[in-house]
């Protein structure tokens, strides 16, 4: 199998000249999807892939893939394509996979427990050493092997353990206070599932996941369809 001298070239590329075009939010939001498809290709033992093949697979244009990847420097090789494992690794690096990030979940309700029980953090190399809640019945117990602590201790815990991400799964009413405590704790990102809309500020990046919005978007399409049938 023809596999040219990409190793050396790519070793050099590890610190490419910073950014050509600053990656737009649109590009960044596509990275996790690339990462998923590349993970799948690794599972299938694919060694290399061209932008065209990947484009067909993902139903996007080859141009977009090449343009996107080039925001971060050259990950491919002319005449060869992209080395699957290498590209996967580089995108993983961009996304902070296995880079020592750590998270705590705040709110030990159904959703908080579901997230704690999932592999969503482990799978990306993100430590999840604690869950916080105010419920005396929950404090002191474990969920999926993770201890539940008193919300009061949140800032201190975050500071001591250098927690980088807070996951907010409390009801709307508690959200503001939790944001305050997480900010005090020095986290740099908040993943917000509460119904309250949060904004990135004070150097804390917020990622809002409004599941209700996704459901309603689906409802729009479903409703349109049923009206079309009439």
């Amino acid at each position: 199998m023809n596999r040219p001298t990409e190793t050396k070239k790519q070793e050099n590329a590890k610190k490419p000249t910073p950014f050509k075009t600053a990656p737009s939010p649109a590009v960044i939001r596509r990275l996790p999807r690339y990462y998923r498809y590349l993970s799948e290709l690794i599972r299938e033992n694919r060694l290399r892939i061209s932008s065209q093949e990947l484009a067909d697979l993902m139903q996007v244009t080859a141009s977009q893939i090449r343009q996107d990847l080039n925001c971060f420097g050259g990950f491919g090789q002319q005449g060869y394509g992209y080395n699957v494992r290498y590209l996967h690794g580089e995108i993983g690096n961009l996304l902070g996979v296995e880079s020592g990030l750590s998270a705590v979940i705040v709110g030990a309700g159904h959703l908080g427990s579901a997230l704690a029980s999932s592999h969503i953090f482990i799978h990306r190399g993100i430590a999840l050493p604690a869950i916080f809640d105010i419920d005396r019945n929950k404090i002191g117990t474990c969920i999926a092997g993770i201890p539940v602590y008193d919300l009061e201790d949140l800032p201190m815990f975050c500071r001591e353990r250098k927690i980088t991400i807070g996951v907010l799964t409390t009801p709307k009413e508690a959200a503001k206070e939790v944001v305050h405590l997480l900010t005090e704790g020095g986290v740099s990102g908040i993943w917000n599932f509460s119904n309250m809309e949060l904004r990135s500020e004070n150097g804390v990046t917020v990622e809002n996941t409004h599941m209700g919005d996704a459901l309603m978007t689906l409802c729009y399409a479903v409703k349109e369809q049923s009206e079309g049938k009439k």
Copy 2:
């Protein structure tokens, strides 16, 4: 309080000349957010709002709001602004709120249970009469008062009860089979939480909610920040 003759005008507007500009996906994805802010304004007993005020509140441009709403016909009134309840109601109609939609959850794991226990469906007037799973220990039980049935019975149940939405919270491995059963059941929308990427086809609209992607997007920002500090 000056509140001109908007009632009559808006009565007429209920069936406006179809679409001026077909609403783009970008516009549709913004509707739930408008809906949330309007819900909040109703809670605050606001009667009217101008595009500019709403824009300030939501941190978007007034132009965008007016442009977005105009895809669907005139919901406002020159010189007055928008009637909060009326606009809320109209956007709700677009999004199929309280319009007889119904859903079933497939996969009675942590996430499925969390969704069943939440008010996400009830709150939008979507019926949730059943959960399906293959686990013999779960079949026959109830989760948040909702019965868990055998996956085998899914297509028949969906057909008989005219279920419109399937919520897919199974592991990746089961996803394909569940999509098959839901399609057989005649649903018109699938809300996919499984790690498998699904495409809209055969007249079934898919809304992919890849929570891991949201987390990774946040990680990108967090990682960038920590590198900036160095």
